[in-house]
Symmetry: C2
Subunit: 135 residues, 2 copies
């Protein structure tokens, strides 16, 4: 019995999230932490700004960053421009782990599309890109 659009998208999201969680578990990372590391790849935001990227309250960010900092993945530093702001950035160890996770996620997610032709994969990429409003 074919799925309707809603069920298909919802189920797909669960499958992808499970893939992310599985990869994360191999490195003791939660999905949220993976997202955070991803954000930090090419940014050095303040706590509040980081929270905006992740859709989290600032008080949630404090703990998230503290746990990652305790593991040496991330670093807090003072902003030279604003004494209130705490900038967050990847440490070398964090950057290394991020790179490794990136590869693992790529493999795992691409494996999900193994039954698609490359044409279908391109089509899916385009459609997903439209929905998420790629720039």
């Amino acid at each position: 019995m074919p799925l309707n659009t809603v069920d298909a998208l919802v189920q797909l999201s669960f499958v992808v999230q499970r893939a992310l969680a599985t990869v994360g578990a191999e490195h003791d990372l939660s999905v949220v932490q993976i997202r955070m590391l991803g954000v930090l790849r090419d940014r050095e935001p303040g706590m509040l700004e980081l929270g905006a990227y992740l859709g989290l309250d600032k008080s949630s960010i404090t703990g998230l960053v503290s746990r990652a900092e305790r593991r040496g993945l991330v670093r807090r530093s003072a902003s030279p421009h604003d004494g209130r702001v705490v900038l967050v950035s990847l440490t070398p160890a964090g950057r290394e782990l991020t790179a490794a996770g990136e590869v693992a996620i790529r493999d795992r997610v691409l494996a999900l599309t193994e039954h698609l032709t490359s044409r279908q994969r391109a089509e899916l990429t385009m459609l997903a890109g439209t929905i998420v409003g790629e720039d």
Copy 2:
């Protein structure tokens, strides 16, 4: 800049999950609870079986069901066939909430596809269905 397949799927999953979380929040339901209610729509599983559907450990299910039970959404009952088994089913209130959530989720998720033509929507549904291995 167009996204690659992996990023597109990952971002799409976050967008859909956020939609689910938003709808859930309107009814004080987490995404996990929404999933659980969805599973129970047409089943009356034991705790362990429910855990298998959700990919959760049995010890996680105890709390999940207890919280829903406390809210009157779900009911525990003894299995007539196996004295060890606790069957979980929706109460009328739970069924009502599930139906309301279903409509809200449909609206919210379909809204995500508003920039797609109906042909694209059908294509996306088919591709997603292939990935999740619809039966």
